[in-house]
């Protein structure tokens, strides 16, 4: 368990955040300038906050009241940077071994061969970082952090510099890290799709403050939390893969409701996390007939939130879980929507993008 409490003022910006990160992936979620990277750098010791306390279990990294401030190299954290930061003068093998060499010898650690196998970087070991693609670099950076026997892994937007295909290449490795390695991970992101796919816990930040903090499905299903902006809202459902159909669609079971997705690679019976972007959901009072969309879910409205803009967010509780829909305020009024109203949510099959479909054990 990582406990963070930091206050820091710089260039007119005030960061004041307190949260706990249980095992698994805790995502610091917010738009740029919300203080995410500042928090991670404070945890890593690369920045000294004005005030604060940071501890991993009973190991105190920083406590300004007690005058405790460990130097970065004493903190035993694996930091995966946005731009990889591999050492260009060392081979991949030497990069991987670098952190392990400085780790205390008595500390249990992941074996070199297991990490190399898990990240699929065996064929790259003798190469130099300059000869690697962006995705390969990031996989090596993950391995390097992991092999330093860290108590905590920090990842600062590790996918932000990659294109969609490379992102899709790296995401499964973070999932394996979450599911197979016991080290807690603090992960910075501004992309809702990454949050939906990876997060065990979400800490939503805005303007240097924690605006919401809790389990991923809960935070992402809350229409009041939208650190990425209204366009980025989307709820997360878990669903089980039923069967792959001949026409390229995969049928899933989300708490008893059938869902159809473009063919996913997961085997039947795998449990997947599915993110349904709020702007891909259409609402209808009557059950729609003769529609091209395949996924139609009956729900009751749990919450309706409209802001100052023309949009409104409707939260719906289905047997499968919370789903969010973004509609216009005008429609909400015209359809007489309110809490408790029964509606049908229509989700276009194709709208569930590949990157949003994540495995979850």
């Amino acid at each position: 368990m990582l406990e963070v409490s930091v206050k820091h003022v710089f260039q007119g910006f005030t960061l004041d955040a307190t949260f706990k990160a249980p095992p698994g992936i805790t995502v610091l979620f917010g738009r740029s300038g919300s203080g995410k990277t500042t928090i991670v750098n404070a945890v890593a010791g690369l920045l000294k906050p004005d005030e604060g306390r940071i501890a991993v279990d009973d190991w105190v990294l920083l406590d300004t009241k007690q005058g405790v401030q460990l130097r970065p190299h004493k903190r035993r954290l694996g930091y995966v940077f946005q731009e990889g930061r591999l050492f260009p003068h060392l081979s991949v093998r030497q990069n991987l071994a670098y952190g392990a060499w400085f780790a205390p010898k008595e500390v249990p650690r992941e074996s070199f061969s297991k990490v190399v196998e898990m990240l699929g970087i065996g064929p790259l070991l003798e190469r130099r970082p300059a000869a690697l693609s962006g995705g390969e670099k990031q996989r090596v950076a993950i391995g390097r952090a992991l092999l330093s026997a860290p108590r905590l892994i920090l990842a600062d937007e590790p996918l932000a510099a990659l294109d969609a295909a490379r992102k899709a290449e790296i995401l499964p490795y973070f999932e394996r890290l979450r599911d197979e390695v016991s080290v807690p991970i603090l992960y910075v992101s501004h992309a809702a799709s990454e949050v939906a796919r990876l997060a065990t816990t979400v800490v939503a930040l805005d303007g240097g403050r924690v605006i919401a903090h809790g389990a991923a499905a809960e935070i992402l299903g809350d229409p009041n939390v939208r650190p990425g902006g209204a366009r980025d809202i989307g709820a997360v459902l878990t669903a089980r893969v039923l069967r792959h159909q001949d026409d390229g669609l995969t049928e899933l079971n989300a708490g008893g409701l059938p869902l159809f997705l473009p063919k996913v690679t997961a085997k039947p019976d795998t449990i997947l996390r599915i993110r349904i972007a709020a702007h891909d959901v259409i609402l209808s009072r009557a059950r729609p007939e003769g529609l091209s969309a395949l996924n139609i879910l009956p729900k009751t409205i749990a919450e309706l939130r409209s802001g100052d803009g023309p949009g409104a967010i409707v939260a719906l509780d289905t047997v499968a879980g919370r789903v969010l829909a973004r509609i216009t305020r005008r429609s909400a009024v015209a359809m007489e929507l309110q809490k408790g109203t029964m509606v049908h949510a229509v989700v276009k099959t194709v709208s569930v993008a590949g990157l949003d479909i994540g495995g979850n054990a």
Binding site: R71, H73, R85, P88, H89, Y98
Partner: protein, 231 residues
């Protein structure tokens, strides 16, 4: 080569090589330290240190030589202490090496400083987060990545030491076998009738050594730069 060069000429060449070799080798660790301090640390008096280091580059060499004479002479602050210990350097090849080192130092520091400044501090941060203490960060990241510049600075300093004349002749005179390096020998040969041939042979040696040093530095720097990742 010994047949081609007369004994006096050969002595000057051997002495020059010895003086330059030791001058460069001994000043290299200090050069790296000063370059690192100027590149990465913030401390009071940084500009003063920078000025002192560069002074021999700007001052007339004769002035530098005279200051060295005052400092290292048996009456001087450093020479006096050394004399108390029974070490008298005056008019020996070791003092010629001191003069060469002081004159070559700014060139060495400049090249190394530039190459250290070119090392991305983000890589040093990454190294620290992986558990490397500041000394290990320097040894495993900064130093290897700055290596092309360190090589260039070292060879430049060596070449400068080979050619040093003004400070050397002022500081330690022109004693055959002790302080008569190639430039001093050329000067001495040109003062006596019939010395032109000897002077010309030493000029040729000078040109060869200088060219070889330049080529070596190019080749080494290129090889290291390639190894450092073609960055």
């Amino acid at each position: 080569m010994q047949d081609w060069l007369g004994p006096a000429e050969w002595r000057a060449v051997a002495l020059s090589l010895r003086v330059s070799f030791w001058a460069t080798l001994v000043s290299l660790p200090l050069g790296i330290l000063v370059a690192y301090a100027l590149a990465r640390w913030r401390f009071p008096g940084k500009q003063v240190l920078n000025g002192i280091v560069h002074l021999p580059l700007i001052l007339p060499p004769v002035v530098t030589g005279y200051v060295l004479l005052l400092t290292f002479g048996t009456q001087g602050p450093i020479g006096g202490v050394l004399a108390d210990w029974g070490i008298v350097l005056a008019f020996r090849w070791t003092e010629a090496a001191v003069a060469a080192a002081v004159m070559a130092f700014p060139l060495m520091v400049r090249a190394i400083r530039l190459s250290i400044e070119a090392v991305d501090p983000k890589l040093e941060q990454a190294s620290a987060t992986l558990g490397a203490s500041p000394v290990w960060v320097f040894l495993t990241v900064t130093l290897p990545m700055a290596l092309p510049g360190i090589i260039a600075g070292t060879i430049l300093a060596f070449a400068k030491a080979m050619g040093e004349f003004g400070a050397t002749i002022t500081f330690v005179s022109n004693i055959p076998g002790q302080t008569r390096t190639i430039p001093s020998a050329i000067y001495a040969f040109l003062q006596v009738p019939g010395g032109e041939d000897s002077a010309m042979r030493l000029v040729i040696v000078s040109v060869i050594v200088a060219m070889a040093a330049l080529l070596l530095s190019e080749v080494l720097a290129r090889r290291v730069a390639h190894r450092v990742g073609g960055a």
